[in-house]
Each structure stands twice: as C-alpha cells, then as structure tokens.
Amino acid sequence: MGRKLLLEHAHVEGINTYEVYRKHGGYRAVEKALKTMAPEDVVEEVKKSGLRGRGGAGFPTGMKWSFIAKPEGVPRYLLCNADESEPGTFKDRYLMEKIPHLLIEGMILSSFALGANTSYIYIRGEYSWVVFILEKAIKEAYANGWLGKNILGTGFDLDLHVTPGAGAYICGEETALIESLEGKRGNPRVKPPFPAVKGLWQSPTVVNNVETIAAVVPIVNDGGDEYAKIGIGKSTGTKLISASGNINKPGVYEIELGVPVEEFIYSDEWCGGIKNGKRIKACVPGGSSVPILPHFLITKTANGEQRLMTYESLSDGGFASGSMLGSGGFIVYDEDQCIVRNTWNFSRFYHHESCGQCSPCREGTGWMEKVLWRLENGQGKLSDIDLLSDVAKKIEGNTICPLGDAAAWPVSAAIRHFREEFEWHINEPKACMERNYGLVKEPLATV
C-alpha cells in the first residue's frame, strides 16, 4: 500500500462538507501557515518538497512561484487551472468532486505564499455540477472565517471565485486561460511577457493545476522535507493517475511516484490487468499529447531497465524509446486496437481544438487528420507515411503555444513504433476496411 496524501480521506462519508473535512484535520495547514509562517517560508517549504507541476509540464512549483514579479501597488493573482481537457485525464474532477475543501485550503496557502488577495478557479464549463460543489464549499469556508477579510485575525485578505469556461481544450494553456478569464476567445498569448510578469489584467499571475495546489496542503502540514522523502530522485511525492482504456479497473489512483509501470498495470490495487484476458499492445502514459509506447517499451526501457512511474523513467530514452508522465492520463490499448485509427482520432481532436492563430498548427493538424483518415479507410499511399512525419516535423517548435507540439508528437511516435501497421493499411486496403468496428464508414466530407 502506498501513502496517500491527497485522497486519504476521499472515501470518508461527508468529506465534501466543511464539518467532516475540518474534523479530519482540514484547514490545519492554513492555521499553521498564517499564524507561524511568513509567505517566503511557505515558498521555501514548497521548494524543499521538490513538488513539480501536475498539469503536464512538470515544472518545479517553488521555482515558478519565486519568479512572480512584485511591483509595488499592483495586485497579484493566483489562477487554478481546472480546465482538465487533455484526453485521458480526469483526476482533477475526482479531487474537486470528492474533497473540494482540499483545493480551497491549497488555494488559501498558495495565495498567501504569492501575496495574492484575489484568486480564481478556472474550471471547464462541462463540469457544471462541480462548479456548484466548489461554490458551496467556498461559501462554507467564508462562513467559517477561512476566506474574506483579515483571515484568523492575521491581516491576510483573500477572495476566491470559481469561473467556468465553455468548452475549449486550448483554455488549459495558461495564457489562453487568462484570455478566457478576461471574457475573450481563448487565444494563447505570445510569450514573453510571461504571466509571472504580465498575466491576468496585465498583473503578475501564477497558473497552477488543481493537483499541484492541493499538494501544498500536505507540504505545509508535514514540511517540504517530509514530502520529498516520498518518491525517487526528482520525482517526489504522490501523483494522481487517471487510468482508462482496455483495463479491468479504470479509475483515479493516487500513487507514490516510483511504482513500477508493470505493477501499476497488472496489480489489483490499480489497473488490475488487461480486460478480457487480452494482451497489451500499447500505452499512452501521460495524456493524449505524449508519445505512445509499444508493448515492449512500456514496462521496460530500451536498456532493459524496469520502467517506473516517475518523470525521469517514463521519459528515459527520449522520444526514440520513451514518453512522458505528462498529466497522468494513463491510456491502455489491447491487442485489438488500431493504432492508425487512434492516431487519426487524436489528430482530429487537435485539429478541432487548434485556435487557428498559427498556420503550422491550424493547417498542419488539418492535413494530418485528412491523411490519417485516408490511410484508415484503405485509400492511402506509401508516400503518405513520410508526408505525415514531415508535416508533424514542420509543426513542432514552430508555434505560439505547445498545442502544436502536442498534436505532432503522437503522430511521430505512432509512425516511429508502428510503421508496419501503417504499411498494412496501405498494402491491404480491403482487409483494413473489413475490420469490424461496428461502424458505417463514410468518406471525409470536408477538411
């Protein structure tokens, strides 16, 4: 059994209410921080903890916080990124739904550390009932003196609000999120200036993922050093993994970083193995944006070492033979799944979600979708495979925001590891059309 820091009380009856949360030690960290620590002390503990952003990029949180500009007389903002739209990721929803006060407590601590007196939780609009849950919990926190003016008599003021989006994956990108919060289209901004200098309404702003902010609670309670004892190397603490695909036990799991991937997939504590007694074919370990791995590179690295659930181990081998921990959206594919179809599906997703500002992303994602659909429908040519690689390469690194890369990587990786399957689609068009997906296939209408 691993230690649980975030979901320890997730199954306690009524933990979503203030009373029960408080009875289980809730808001102790706020008392400790506001009464006995300076904001810099909280930042220091977070630095010591080694906590890395749980939204996908894994950037050290303490360092990110220390970058925030502090000009005199200008407000600072903390924004919680609860947009959670990366395919395969559903951990933040689980946390907010089950233990909304944990996020609120983390928001108070993090706002205190950053010197923010107004903070927002930006949540995807589709989670409308979670907005309701959060707003109810915030009201309870105000009523009990944890939010508002002069919290605990310490002179620290904080107002916390929830703002829903309206359906756009790109609003998870931090500058798009800021634009959206300002009531505009979610078009990512050109950086610099970085949000830490000019963010929401041109003020210094930090954007952090739900899970990152929640992790500040145990860090303040137990101290950064204690948190850093969990995990391996630079992958400290626990991580929420949302497991989906062809496995026996999909769901949200909190693991100590460092669990072997093999154990995570096959142990009954977690995924419980592949459904219907099938074999594993591939795995996307960190949300749709990260490279797909073929079965022989999932549980072991190219060097034959055991692959672990850590930032370093999952990316061991670079893009040639590794992937990324990403957002922790762990998708498992069994032997019957079609890699070409899955790649097409993801390309369609990125094409649909591209904001359209940069032509490599806007046009490139469209091309990839179109070519992949052609291949999947037995109308591809051998040259299409190289065309795809080429388009993907032209997008990578040539765009305003990382959505372009996120669209390109899955395509490049699928071709790298499953070229034969792409070729089969071209050489055996009839067999490939006959494969039964229970679908009526239609040609692509428009691109």
Binding site: F90, T118, E126, T163, A166, G183
Partner: protein
C-alpha cells in the same frame, strides 16, 4: 459580476452566455446576444466572437435533450463510435441534427473528463457513463416519458 474588479465586467461574459443560453431554450440567438452586450456594456461583436469560439454554445436551435457523445480516443476504444452510430440509427438523425418532434439533438464532443467510465455522454448537467445499447434505449424511453431531469446532479 461582483466576482471581478471594477471595470473588468467583461470577464462575466462567459458565464452570462451560459445563463442566456439556458434561458433562451438551449441556444444563442442574435437577439439574445445583442441584449447581453447591452447589459454588459460591450459591443455585440465582442459577444459573437466569444460565442462562436466555445463549443458549449449552440448557435442554432436544439432539441429539448442534447445528447453530447464523447468520441475521443479513450471513449472510442471502448465503443463510443458504435454507440453514436446506434443512437443515430435509432433516432433517424445524424450528428448535429434534431429529431422532427424537437426532442433530441445529437452532438459529438471531445473528451469530457470521464475517460475511465467510457463510453459516455453528457445531457444537461448529467454524465451518463458506461453506455450500452440497452442504456440508450432506456434513456430515450425515459426522456419521452418525461422522466429525465437535465438540471440536477446526482452523485453516482
């Protein structure tokens, strides 16, 4: 609107559009958007720009029940495409269309953050998970019988 500092009322737009859509029978008409612009003190184009960007806003009339099927990767490998095809056939409409009786609209949307409970659809505030053909049959029957409430969330 008090959520935002003085002079930043535009930030209320996204939520205000949600409310407008709800009150306008599930979609945003030009008249409704123009009215909202006036209330918020911004230009109509600022409202249209936003309304056309986000997928949750419907710019044409929709049925009473909008069936929003997730068709992204994790749902797809658990049978989302089959479920969508089944529902299309059953209701005699394609994605984006509304049944003649004005009851159902089918929409296909991207990942809704329920990938572990695939295949899934959202109707109103509800997520309907682990969909099967039988569940779709039951759901449609319940809608027709007026048994489905779109707006109150129940934990499952």
């Amino acid at each position: 609107m008090q959520r935002f500092p003085e002079g930043k009322q535009k930030s209320a737009l996204i939520r205000a559009l949600h409310i407008t859509q709800e009150e306008n029978g599930g979609w945003l008409s030009i008249a409704a958007m123009d009215h909202l612009a006036e209330v918020l003190g911004i230009t109509p184009i600022e409202v249209y720009e936003v309304a056309t960007f986000y997928t949750m806003y419907n710019l044409a009339p929709v049925g009473k029940y909008v069936l929003e099927f997730c068709h992204t990767g994790p749902c797809a490998i658990e049978g989302a495409e089959r479920i969508v095809a089944y529902t299309q056939q059953k209701l005699g409409i394609k994605t984006g269309e509304t049944t003649a009786d004005g009851f159902f609209t089918i929409k296909e949307v991207e990942c809704l953050g329920a990938c572990g409970y695939a295949p899934m659809m959202q109707v109103g505030e509800f997520f309907h998970e682990h969909l099967t053909e039988a569940k779709i049959d039951q759901f449609i029957e319940d809608c027709r019988a007026g048994k489905i409430d779109k707006g109150t969330w129940k934990m499952h």
